[in-house]
C-alpha cells in the first residue's frame, strides 16, 4: 500500500465518521461571529464609521453619559471634601476648633472680670458723642481716647489701650481715665472730683483692648470735666491733663437764667440781718438747684447772704402743676449768690418752673399767654354789677358768695338770691351744677364729677348757706392757668388772690361788710389768704352784708359748755 493511499483512507471520510460541523453550520457560525467581531472592533477603536452604526452610537452615548456623571459627582464630592478639610468651621468666621479660638475666648471671659459693672449697649451707642482722637503715651502702652458722651450728669469715654510689650496677667490694672479738674456751671468749688466707677472691656484685638469707662452717677451736673489717664497701676505714672470733656446738657436739663432787678429786705426770720436790703440781679433755674444772684454788698461781708438765707426756708419754687419743691439737698453760696439744692431724686425740668418766691416776694412769675376771647366775665349776667346769680331751675336762683380755687380743691358757697326773703329763694344741689374750668391755652376740664363734700350753715333767721367743696387732689389744677370758670354756663372771671396757687371770687358785699366793721364770722383777712391757702385750706368766706349780726342770731354754746351748764 502506498503512503498516499494510507492517508486518503484515513482522512477521506472524516466528515462522515465524526460529528464535525457541516458547511451550513460553519458558514452560519462564521457570519455570526464575524458580525460580533466587527462590533467589538468598532467599539474598541472608535472608528470613523461609528455614525453609521446605531448600536455603537447608543453604546457610546451611554458610555459617555456614565463617564460624565461619574466625573461631575466626583467634582462635587471633592468640593465638599475640600470645604470640610480646608475651610474653618464657621462661627462668625472664626475657626472654633482651633486652639487659638479657645484661648481668645478665655481671655475675653477673663477680661470681663475687669469690673462687675457692665455698661449698657444704649450707653455704648455713639449717638450724641464728641470725637476726641487724642493719645497718651507711656513706656510700653498707648492709650487713645476715641470719643466721649457727656450730658452733664453721666460721662462715658471710649478709648483703646495698646500694649507694645507683653500683656499683664491682671487685666484689672489696665490704664483708666481719671478726673483732673471739673467745673460747675455756678462756679462752685468742687469738694471732690468724681471718679470713673464703671470700666468695661468691649472687645480685644490682639494687643489692643477697646474699653468704656463711665462716671455714674454724677450727682451734680458738671459743665466740664478734665480727663487724664491713670496708668499708675502698671508702671506708676499717670498722664497729665489730656482733654476737657464739655457737657452737652439736654434741653430738659439746660438752665434758665432770668435777669432781675429787685430789692428784697430781709425779714425778722433772717435775724440778725433783718432789715438789710439786698439787690437781686439774676435767677438761675437748674435741674437740681435754684440760684439767686446778688450784687455784692460790702457792708455785710462775704458770708452774709448764705448766713442770712440758709436754713430759713425762705425760697419757694412752684412748678406748673402746682407742686412746690422741697429743698433739702443743702445750701451753698458766697457773697454774690445763694444756691438751694434739690435732692438727687427730685430733679426738675427748669422749663416747668412757673413761680419763684424769696421771703414771700415774687422774683419769677412765668408769663402765660391768655386767651382774651374767652376769659372775659360778662357782668350783664348778673342782676347787679357785682353779684353773680346761678340758675338752679327748678329750684330758682342762688347767689354765688365765694369761689376759691387751689391746686387741691374748688370751694363754692351759695346763699339764697332773695335778700328780702331770706328763707325763700332757691337752693343749690350738687347734682344741679355743671362746673367747667377754661384754661388760657384753650383747654377745658369739667370737675362736676370730682369727689365733693356738701355743707350747710343755717342762720338764726332761717337763711341757709351751702358750701360745696370739690376735691381736686387726684387731678390737681394750676390756678394761675385758669382763665375763668363757668357754673351752669355762667362765666366767672376770677382774679389773683395774692397767693401763688389760689384764685378767688368774692361777692360784692364782702368788702362792704369788711369796711362796716361788723362781725365777720369765719372771715379771713385778705392779707393772710396766701399763707392760708398755702396750707391747702379754705381761703376765704364772705357773708352777705344783709346778713348782719343781730339779736336774731342764736349763739349756741359749745356742747361741752352746755353740758357743764346743765349737767
Amino acid at each position: 500500500m502506498k503512503y498516499k493511499d494510507i492517508f486518503e483512507q484515513a482522512f477521506s471520510d472524516i466528515y462522515t465518521r465524526f460529528p464535525l460541523s457541516d458547511t451550513g453550520t460553519i458558514c452560519e457560525n462564521v457570519t455570526k461571529r464575524s458580525s460580533q467581531l466587527h462590533t467589538r472592533k468598532n467599539i474598541c477603536r472608535f472608528s470613523s464609521d461609528i455614525k453609521d452604526n446605531p448600536t455603537v452610537q447608543k453604546h457610546n452615548k451611554s458610555f459617555y453619559k456614565t463617564v460624565s456623571v461619574i466625573a461631575v459627582m466626583s467634582l462635587v464630592l471633592g468640593a465638599f471634601v475640600g470645604i470640610y478639610y480646608f475651610s474653618p468651621h464657621k462661627n462668625g468666621g472664626i475657626d472654633i476648633t482651633s486652639p487659638g479660638y479657645a484661648q481668645k475666648q478665655a481671655e475675653i471671659e477673663e477680661s470681663k472680670k475687669l469690673d462687675e459693672h457692665q455698661i449698657t449697649d444704649e450707653e455704648r451707642s455713639e449717638s450724641g458723642t464728641t470725637e476726641v482722637g487724642l493719645t497718651a503715651e507711656f513706656d510700653n502702652i498707648n492709650v487713645k481716647v476715641s470719643w466721649y458722651k457727656f450730658d452733664g450728669t453721666d460721662l462715658i469715654i471710649k478709648y483703646s489701650v495698646t500694649f507694645y510689650s507683653e500683656i499683664p496677667d491682671d487685666l484689672s490694672t489696665l490704664p483708666r481715665p481719671t478726673g483732673n479738674t471739673i467745673s460747675y456751671p455756678d462756679n462752685r468749688e468742687a469738694e471732690q472730683i468724681p471718679s470713673f466707677e464703671k470700666h468695661d472691656i468691649a472687645y480685644r484685638d490682639g494687643n489692643t483692648f477697646y474699653m468704656y469707662s463711665k462716671i455714674s452717677p454724677v450727682t451734680k451736673p458738671l459743665e466740664t470735666y478734665d480727663v487724664a489717664i491713670d496708668n499708675r497701676r502698671i508702671d506708676g505714672e499717670s498722664s497729665p491733663y489730656l482733654f476737657t470733656a464739655i457737657a452737652n446738657i439736654p434741653e430738659n436739663k439746660q438752665p434758665i437764667e432770668t435777669a432781675l432787678d429787685k430789692y428784697i429786705t430781709l425779714p425778722e426770720k433772717a435775724a440778725p440781718f433783718e432789715g438789710i436790703t439786698m439787690h437781686l440781679t439774676k435767677l438761675t433755674l437748674k435741674s437740681d438747684h435754684v440760684i439767686f444772684w446778688f450784687d455784692e454788698i460790702a457792708d455785710n461781708g462775704n458770708t452774709t447772704i448764705i448766713t442770712a438765707l440758709a436754713g430759713e426756708q425762705c425760697e419757694q419754687v412752684i412748678m406748673n402743676d402746682g407742686r412746690q419743691l422741697v429743698f433739702d439737698g443743702g445750701y451753698s453760696g458766697s457773697n454774690t449768690y445763694y444756691s438751694c439744692n434739690l435732692t438727687e431724686s427730685n430733679t426738675i425740668d427748669p422749663r416747668d418752673v412757673s413761680e419763684v418766691y424769696l421771703f414771700g416776694e415774687p422774683v419769677y412769675l412765668k408769663s402765660i399767654p391768655k386767651n382774651d376771647a374767652s376769659a372775659k366775665y360778662d357782668e350783664s349776667n348778673g342782676n347787679s354789677d357785682d353779684i353773680i346769680y346761678i340758675d338752679t331751675t327748678p329750684y330758682g336762683k342762688v347767689r354765688l358768695d365765694t369761689l376759691s380755687l387751689s391746686p387741691y380743691m374748688l370751694e363754692l358757697t351759695f346763699t339764697p338770691a332773695d335778700n328780702d326773703d331770706p328763707t325763700g329763694g332757691g337752693i343749690v344741689r350738687t347734682q344741679d351744677l355743671s362746673i367747667k374750668l377754661y384754661y388760657h391755652d384753650g383747654s377745658i376740664s369739667s370737675i362736676s364729677d370730682m369727689p365733693h363734700s356738701f355743707g350747710e350753715e343755717i342762720f338764726a333767721d332761717g337763711r341757709r348757706k351751702r358750701t360745696i367743696t370739690y376735691d381736686l387732689s387726684d387731678n390737681r389744677v394750676a390756678p394761675q392757668y385758669v382763665g375763668y370758670i363757668t357754673i351752669n354756663g355762667v362765666p366767672i372771671e376770677i382774679s389773683e388772690a395774692g397767693s401763688y396757687d389760689t384764685k378767688e371770687y368774692r361777692g360784692s358785699s364782702a368788702e362792704a361788710v369788711a369796711e362796716s366793721g361788723a362781725p365777720f364770722p369765719s372771715a379771713i383777712d385778705a392779707q393772710n389768704i396766701g399763707s392760708s391757702v398755702y396750707e391747702g385750706g379754705l381761703v376765704g368766706t364772705v357773708i352777705d352784708k344783709s346778713i348782719t349780726p343781730s339779736e336774731n342770731w342764736i349763739s349756741l354754746p359749745p356742747e361741752n359748755e352746755e353740758s357743764i351748764a346743765n349737767p
Binding site: 500500500m1 502506498k2 503512503y3 498516499k4 494510507i6 492517508f7 486518503e8 483512507q9 484515513a10 482522512f11 477521506s12 472524516i14 466528515y15 465518521r17 465524526f18 460529528p19 464535525l20 460541523s21 458547511t23 451550513g24 460553519i26 458558514c27 457560525n29 462564521v30 457570519t31 461571529r33 464575524s34 467581531l37 466587527h38
Partner: protein, 161 residues
C-alpha cells in the same frame, strides 16, 4: 467576501482544513473549532486571492498557525484531553488507517499528510510551515519509517512520536 463565496470555499476546503488541524491537534473537537476559526478569518480577510489554490494554501497556512496557537495555549496544556483522540486511535474498522496515522509523530504526520494527501511538494510544505526543505524531508523520511514499522506491528517509542 460574500456569504456565497464563503459557502463555496467552506464546501471545497473544509475537509482539508479539518484534516490538517486534526493532524496537528490530534483532537476532533479542536479540529472542528480550528476549522471554523480559519474560515472566519477568511471571511473577514480583506486581501485578494489569485486563485482557489491560493485560497487553499492561505487556509492551510492559517490552519497550521491556528492549530499551533491551540497547542501553545495555556488551556490546552493544563486540561485533560478528551477521548476523541482515543476514538480516532481505536475504531471498529479493521481497515481504518486513521488510528495508525495518529500514532505517527505530530511533526511527521503533518508533513506526510500535506505531502501524500494534499499533494504539496517539499518546497511548498516548507514555505507553508516556515521550515526548511531539509527539515521537511527529514520529517517525511522519519514518518515513512514510523508508518512502516506500525504497519509491521512494531512498537514506536514515545520519543519518536
Amino acid at each position: 467576501m460574500t456569504a456565497n463565496e464563503l459557502e463555496r470555499y467552506v464546501d471545497l476546503y473544509k475537509q482539508s482544513v479539518c484534516a490538517t488541524a486534526m493532524c496537528i491537534v490530534k483532537n476532533i473537537s479542536d479540529a472542528d473549532d480550528v476549522t471554523q476559526e480559519v474560515f472566519l478569518r477568511l471571511y473577514t480577510y480583506e486581501g485578494n486571492f489569485a486563485s482557489d489554490e491560493h485560497v487553499k494554501a492561505w487556509l492551510l497556512r492559517c490552519t497550521v498557525n491556528r492549530s499551533r496557537d491551540i497547542l501553545r495555549s495555556h488551556w490546552y496544556k493544563f486540561s485533560q484531553p478528551l477521548s476523541a483522540a482515543e476514538k480516532i486511535s481505536h475504531t471498529d474498522r479493521t481497515d481504518d488507517m486513521l488510528p495508525l496515522v495518529m500514532k505517527l509523530s505530530r511533526k511527521s504526520r503533518f508533513a506526510m499528510y500535506l505531502h501524500y494527501y494534499e499533494g504539496y511538494s517539499v518546497s511548498e510544505i516548507a514555505a507553508m510551515s516556515g521550515l526548511s526543505e531539509s527539515a521537511i524531508k527529514s520529517r517525511l523520511a522519519r514518518g515513512r519509517e514510523q508508518l512502516r514499522r506500525l504497519l509491521n506491528n512494531e512498537r514506536i517509542d514515545d520519543d519518536e512520536v
